[in-house]
Symmetry: C2
Subunit: 432 residues, 2 copies
């Protein structure tokens, strides 16, 4: 028999019907529940080199003044400013050169009147000196140096404690350790630091149709793309990932695939099997581990089935936060970025520096919206002066992986917008 013409189907992909479901919560409610339930992991001490990106677990007090001694901000001559009050290009003042103050050791020299000491950047200031004249404003003459400027008191000197005073607060707890903080800690001599660690996550993709990439694809089956994509996102953030591969739509097989990870990981993620279909076992498998459910469905598209709760600590190990993610590839990844990532940030004890959707752009084209769900829209964003233009990709469906690779931005059409019209201002974030 002739294959049915499905060209209309492609056009109709926009209009896949939604089930009515009163049990959905809003994305804001979901985020509030995640934020209120999930807390920081127990802190641990790590070498400074491993601490970048982690939250500091305890407030730190400065051990040292920084700089630890008055020192020169440049190569030149340490002088007494009063000796040079009348110096100028036309009337240079000659000072007797007493020697050199290199970096790395305290100066044993002390300046008397009309004396200078050759000094290098970072070198401790000799006693008696109260200014540094840069080399370019001087001229050597045997045992003397001619100075062509009248320096201000303190010129080109970095005074002890200018940046940090010992015994004052250095860094607050909870801040993320960027390279700038790592540098500050190192400059205090700190080689190990107490941080909230990154969580470890187990990832299981479920579905009897799933086949591992790199192996032969049998008819009716598809490759497991959720495992690799979710793992890639997690690893890129810094999470250590335990890839559990795939499990068929069978609660015994699923539970047995999860068992080694429960108790050993901080986060358990299962993609697929989370709807209300006859073969959706994720919820009951979580329940078999004593799951304490927080929510089940969120009014977002792509997405909606999104199971969240706690698998308690047992005799086999620590407790874990567990998410059942939708099985469609884009639903799974967007759910990970929008809902699992905030849980990870909470586990990491991180206070986010800026909101996710602080950028805004104007839609270049219209897009129909579901009436009961917030829609995330895959877009091509381009800068247009101060604002961005958002080309909303059409069509976009939650299984259209290639479509998403053409997007560089994800825009949000909030619940109740009805429809996106050309020119509407939408918040968006970069897809990274």
């Amino acid at each position: 028999m002739r294959a049915p013409d499905l060209s209309v189907g492609v056009r109709c992909a926009f209009f896949i019907e939604d089930a009515e479901d009163d049990a959905m919560i809003t994305p804001e409610e979901a985020l509030a529940l995640i934020t209120s339930h999930v807390g920081p992991l127990p802190p641990c001490k790590v070498p400074l080199a491993d601490a970048v990106g982690c939250a500091l677990a305890e407030p730190l007090v400065a051990r040292l003044d920084l700089p630890p001694f008055d020192n020169s901000a440049m190569d030149g001559y340490a002088v007494r400013a009063a000796d040079l009050a009348d110096a100028s290009r036309e009337a240079p003042v000659s000072l007797r050169l007493r020697g050199e103050a290199p970096a790395g050791r305290p100066s044993s020299l002390a300046l008397a009147q009309r004396e200078a000491v050759r000094i290098l950047t970072g070198a401790p200031l000799p006693d008696g000196a109260d200014a540094v004249v840069m080399q370019e404003k001087t001229e050597r003459e045997g045992e003397c140096v001619k100075v062509f400027v009248a320096p201000l008191l303190g010129a080109n000197i970095r005074p002890r404690g200018e940046d940090v005073k010992a015994q004052t607060p250095l860094l607050a707890a909870g801040g993320s350790l960027r390279p700038y903080e790592i540098g500050l800690l190192a400059s205090q001599g700190i080689a190990e630091v107490e941080v909230v660690p990154w969580p470890t996550a187990a990832v299981l993709a479920t579905g009897s149709e799933l086949t591992a990439p790199g192996t032969q694809l049998e008819p009716g089956r598809i490759y497991n793309s959720n495992g690799p994509a979710l793992g890639a996102a997690l690893r890129r953030w810094g999470v250590t990932v335990r890839d559990l591969g795939t499990a068929p739509d069978d609660p015994v097989a699923m539970a047995s695939a999860l068992r080694p990870a429960v108790g050993a990981c901080d986060l358990v993620l299962v993609a697929g099997g989370v709807s209300v279909g006859d073969y959706d076992y994720t919820r009951s498998v979580f329940q078999s581990f004593g799951f304490d459910e927080v929510f089940y469905k969120v009014a977002v598209k792509p997405g909606k089935p999104l199971l969240f709760g706690r698998i308690p600590a047992g005799k086999s190990g620590r407790g874990a936060w567990a998410f059942g993610l939708p099985g469609n590839p884009l639903s799974a990844l967007v759910s990970l970025e929008e809902f699992v990532r905030p849980a990870i940030e909470r586990m990491r004890g991180v206070t986010l520096a800026q909101p996710s959707y602080h950028l805004h752009g104007r839609a270049l084209n219209a897009y129909p919206l579901p009436k009961d769900r917030q829609q995330f829209l895959f877009c091509r964003a381009t800068a247009k002066g101060d604002v961005f233009a958002l080309d909303v990709i059409r069509p976009q469906g939650s299984a259209m992986s290639k479509m998403a690779t053409g997007a560089n931005a994800l825009a949000v059409a909030r619940l109740g917008m009805g429809v996106v019209r050309e020119g509407d201002l939408l918040p968006f974030r970069w897809l990274k």
Copy 2:
């Protein structure tokens, strides 16, 4: 003797004199030289899990249609749309149930007139079916199913090849592999991929005053903060770092510290010893390795001494791009982010998706600028509607590490601005 009063010095930190120097190039010229000199590293094949964040080294063509077969977008019933043309809530149409089409295997069923097949999300469509009715719009009655809607042709069907058609271009070379691309590659069954790898970098901090964090600090010395801070930034980006520790201001010691890394790393970074002082040996040490210099000084603040060029391949191994970075902590980190990172992106074969300074904010306060250099300003940025407010931190000096930890943004005051005035619009980026 009484210590001189240096309180004026703190205020004068803004006005540290600049040496006149005609040899400086503009930051734009420096970036253009980096971009034109540095090219991608040789590609290599890596497992998909290690490819995230890397540039694809070769264009890929689709092996498979995606989806690979017509399948259901939801749980429901596969039907023939024509049978249901008159179906409605008031006048449901009853279809004979032929069985079930689960996911994971091709359906052996074929629909005749007024027949339906129970179908689950992702399951192959049985022959003869041309629409799927969602479960919620039906009612089971023994061997029959009552349907309350007239589906459009193709409704709730994902047709074979909707997202990807076999033998069409899948991904272009040079694109960065985000989790979305990793998912797409996995869905094509691809388990290994040819990418441009991340470079390996050697980091050496020079200065006779430097002491390793975690050890005792002798008078006149400071802790090595550049090594840890630069290493942290590089590691966070994904670069494999070889930390060479510190070397004193001595060309023989510096060369011997660098020697094991030259030939073994793609990037050689030396912080400090790069000015024109009596003890600045970085340039001559690079020259001892056959250094081919591209530029030496860039008109930026913090920064300016910034040495860039190529250490050629020798009998001991591959060639490397080499940077001599200024020794002041903030000069070193800002130079790394502004100039070394673009070199790394070029080595990685990555085309940046968006410009670094596409955000803009209005200065909340005035700030004096050097006349001959572009100034990077450490700021606290806060969102104010569509624009940002930039609180420019005062004072800021290139050795003030703690000051920088209070900043979340780096703004740019371009060459020739003269001064930043309250209300001036400045481009900025987040400090991450």
